[in-house]
């Protein structure tokens, strides 16, 4: 488990390669990368706030849960905070497993939990308006699917 909360950008390619190089005997590697979308065509930047202290603890707990549920070789979570522009990468997760199903499911699980259970809040800032991104019911529903 490699958990990083940082303001600095990360390099998807470099992180994916480095993650892959750390795995042995794994047949499958999945990565997910989340990117800032400019939904209305007016976004100047996004401001991501987090709860220092709790954030890494929460991400670690989610990753530990994933390792308990699936047969994983390794996992990586990188999540940025601070100011991000359109098309900037916000975060990524990576998982490895002997089997593709485990690697996929664990990555989806990490994303679903990270989305609604890790203390990050996004604010969208346009030239003449700003607003906090609202949580979506479907993200909460996604968690229920894992609890069945």
């Amino acid at each position: 488990m490699d958990i990083r909360v940082q303001e600095a950008p990360f390099d998807l390619g470099r992180e994916a390669s480095a993650f892959a190089a750390r795995q042995t005997g794994m047949g499958a590697i999945v990565t997910f990368t989340g990117i800032v979308r400019d939904l209305g065509g007016t976004l100047d930047h996004m401001q991501i706030e987090h709860y220092p202290g709790m954030t890494e603890k929460a991400l670690r707990a989610i990753a530990e849960d994933a390792h308990a549920r699936w047969d994983l070789g390794g996992s990586l979570v990188i999540h940025r905070h601070g100011r991000l522009g359109p098309d900037d990468m916000i975060m990524m997760v990576a998982t490895s497993s002997r089997h593709r199903k485990d690697a996929f499911e664990a990555a989806m699980f990490l994303m679903d939990y990270l989305k609604s259970r890790a203390p990050f809040w996004k604010k969208e800032v346009a030239a003449d308006a700003e607003g906090w991104v609202a949580a979506r019911d479907e993200d909460e529903d996604a968690l229920r699917d894992w609890q069945r």
């Binding site: 987090h50 709860y51 929460a58 994303m111 990270l114 989305k115 259970r117 809040w121």
Partner: protein
């Protein structure tokens, strides 16, 4: 006890954290004390279904006990990822 506010809760109350002297037994009691202070607190806590709480950096409930707690944080539903 340290009380922390994030996102629009922080903006509405106007500060990110403060020390609070309280003997509140539960999170709900603490919320009641804060609401009684000033209009901005009352407004921030007017709809608890729109809020989440963490006690000592663990997600918790509004009826959770506060005995021994050092840090309580209030914030809207999280929007990471």
């Amino acid at each position: 006890m340290d009380v922390l506010y994030f996102a629009w809760v922080r903006e509405r109350i106007g500060l990110p954290r403060e020390k609070v002297e309280t003997s509140a037994a539960t999170v709900g009691d603490l919320v009641a004390e804060l609401r009684a202070r000033e209009a901005r607190y009352d407004a921030a806590f007017s709809d608890l279904t729109a809020l989440r709480v963490a006690v000592d950096q663990e997600l918790s409930d509004f009826d959770a006990p506060l005995s021994g707690a050092r840090e309580v944080a209030f914030f809207p539903p999280m929007t990471g990822g």
